[in-house]
């Protein structure tokens, strides 16, 4: 443990944090734009800061694309009145938003977002048990929501919190079981090794080798991030707004951003586990980078894959209607868990046959 290591780690943490927070803000914008386009609207196109008109040619275009909207949103969230209802349990009311936000960000610590720049591996913590770490942290994400429901001390948030904890615990099992075949194939829990195992050809990507695992993981990811079609914890039509009903201003924004941060980390997990991480099977891009430029290119590839998955997740929200709660539980316990288990058995059987 030397100082160089510390400094580089700190730099990576800061950069990843900054990039992810920016991505979260713009994921919100993308969500609004995509939803608007699907619903025959144009979406945010008015946020017009004073300096926009001094940008030659592009200025007004950027305004129309809503590029400045996240700034306006952030400003609004910060400046808005922070209202604490009289009946809430104060301490829990204060920690819940933070607890909702933090796990999503912590997950990203073990995701390899590039091969290497110089001698530095582009991953904050190259853990041997990377995937267990992510699942552990993801499982901590329940607390924020449960506590928010409990703290609000009123019935709809409480119902939302209870629903969500049941949903997240149930789908955590399906999620955990779904990735076991992947690790049976790789033979290591280290996420860098998972990426290494997917290099070579397009067909080496786990999404093609383990389509069932990917499907179960994808659906469980929707449930874990509380996104439609499984956003029952916050179902507006029945629970008003679920666990964040009583929240306003920045505390509400933290829940909101936490949801998008969770989406990003889940997408990053999917890219790493199933889509070959920073590799592309052409032009030798699947080997660790020798030069700085290739290293940057790898980060870019990871980033692009991530964006595609993010837009996919956003798109699904406007494509599928919400499930009923009993359907959700039925799907989790009686469909996906058996399917995931069967997938494990089949994969293990095939591997045992091959290695005999």
């Amino acid at each position: 443990m030397d100082w160089q290591f510390l400094a580089f780690s700190l730099a990576k943490i800061l950069v990843v944090f900054a990039v992810v927070m920016t991505m979260v803000a713009y994921a919100v914008l993308v969500e609004r734009k995509v939803s608007a386009f699907i619903q025959d609207r144009v979406g945010p196109n008015r946020a017009n800061p004073f300096f926009a008109r001094y940008i030659p040619y592009l200025g007004m275009k950027l305004v129309r694309w809503g590029i400045f909207q996240p700034m306006a949103d952030a400003l609004k969230a910060i400046l808005k009145e922070d209202y604490t209802p009289a009946h809430v349990r104060k301490v829990y009311f204060w920690i819940a938003p933070a607890l909702a936000m933090v796990p999503a960000l912590l997950t990203l610590a073990v995701i390899p977002f590039g091969s290497q720049l110089g001698a530095q591996k582009m991953v904050i913590a190259d853990l041997d048990v990377g995937v267990l770490y992510t699942f552990g942290i993801v499982s901590l994400g329940v607390y924020g929501i449960v506590l928010a429901g409990y703290a609000a001390n009123s019935k709809y948030p409480f119902l939302g919190g209870i629903r969500s904890s049941a949903q997240m615990i149930s789908y955590e099992i399906a999620m955990g079981l779904s990735v076991i075949p992947v690790f049976l194939l790789v033979g290591s829990l280290n996420l860098s090794d998972v990426i290494g195992a997917q290099s070579g050809s397009l067909l080496a990507w786990h999404v093609f080798k383990q389509p069932v695992a990917f499907f179960v993981f994808l659906v469980a990811a929707f449930a874990e991030t509380n996104r439609l079609p499984f956003d029952l914890p916050e179902a507006e039509t029945e629970l008003v707004g679920g666990y964040h009903t009583e929240y306003s201003s920045m505390k509400f924004a933290l829940f909101f951003l936490g949801e998008y941060a969770a989406m990003i980390s889940v997408s990053a997990m999917m890219v790493t586990l199933f889509f070959g991480g920073w590799t592309l099977p052409f032009l030798g891009l699947d080997q660790p980078a020798q030069s700085l430029w290739v290293g940057l290119l790898h980060i870019l590839i990871f980033f692009l894959k991530l964006c595609v998955l993010l837009v996919g997740i956003i798109w699904v929200r406007w494509m599928l209607p919400r499930f009923r709660y009993d359907q959700l539980m039925d799907l989790g316990w009686r469909r996906f868990i058996p399917v995931a288990l069967a997938n494990i058995v089949v994969t293990a059987g095939v591997l045992a046959m091959m290695h005999r």
Partner: protein, 191 residues
């Protein structure tokens, strides 16, 4: 009548065709908006809200205002039914009291000394219009209410009357008076 639910076949239970169909529909709209620049508002109204004002439909329930009758008299008689029925308690009426000024029209006993509607509280449900025996309050077309302070959004009687305008409806009490005049003894002789 109970509609029998048809059992889903395998394809429907797998959700895959439904997902594909959903993608088809959403992609069609996405493509149309993004590449052809067509939007619902553009197609129907020719533009977006602040530039192209919204055409308020017939029977729209906007902000509730007080109205005057044809003679310019306040129709409200301070019966406080609307104050009672208002679900969010947005209306507050101060009656004139025993020594207050009489109503500014014939046959009405009194008129409110003060009549306030808190537009921040109003939910535009229309109960006040429904309940008013004098047809004195109407939900009118204003839909975009804004102000810079909370106090500003509490509309008082003058403001409500000014915004409400005149309502050329049935004049209930004038009709009653005419009917009474048509009979012999009016005003009723003091016995």
């Amino acid at each position: 009548m109970i509609v029998e639910r048809k059992p889903l076949n395998l394809a429907e239970r797998l959700y895959i065709p439904a997902v594909a169909n959903g993608f088809k529909v959403t992609w069609r709209h996405f493509k149309r908006t993004l590449f052809e620049g067509r939007t619902a508002a553009g197609d129907t109204a020719g533009g977006f809200h602040p530039e192209v004002p919204w055409r308020v439909g017939e029977g729209y329930r906007g902000a509730p205002y007080l109205v005057r009758d044809q003679d310019g008299a306040t129709k409200c008689v301070s019966c406080q039914l609307c104050e009672f029925v208002c679900p969010p308690k947005a209306i507050r009426i101060t009656p004139p009291g025993p020594d207050g000024a009489p109503a500014d029209r014939r046959n009405a006993e009194k008129m409110p000394r003060e009549f306030e509607i808190n537009m921040l509280r109003c939910i535009f449900c229309g109960y006040c219009q429904e309940v008013c025996p004098e047809e004195a309050i109407f939900l009118q077309r204003d839909y975009s209410l804004s102000g810079t302070s909370r106090a500003e959004m509490i509309y008082d009687k003058e403001k409500l009357l000014a915004l409400g305008g005149a309502h050329a409806g049935l004049r209930k009490w004038k009709q009653k008076e005419d009917e009474a005049r048509a009979q012999e003894a009016f005003p009723p002789a003091a016995s």
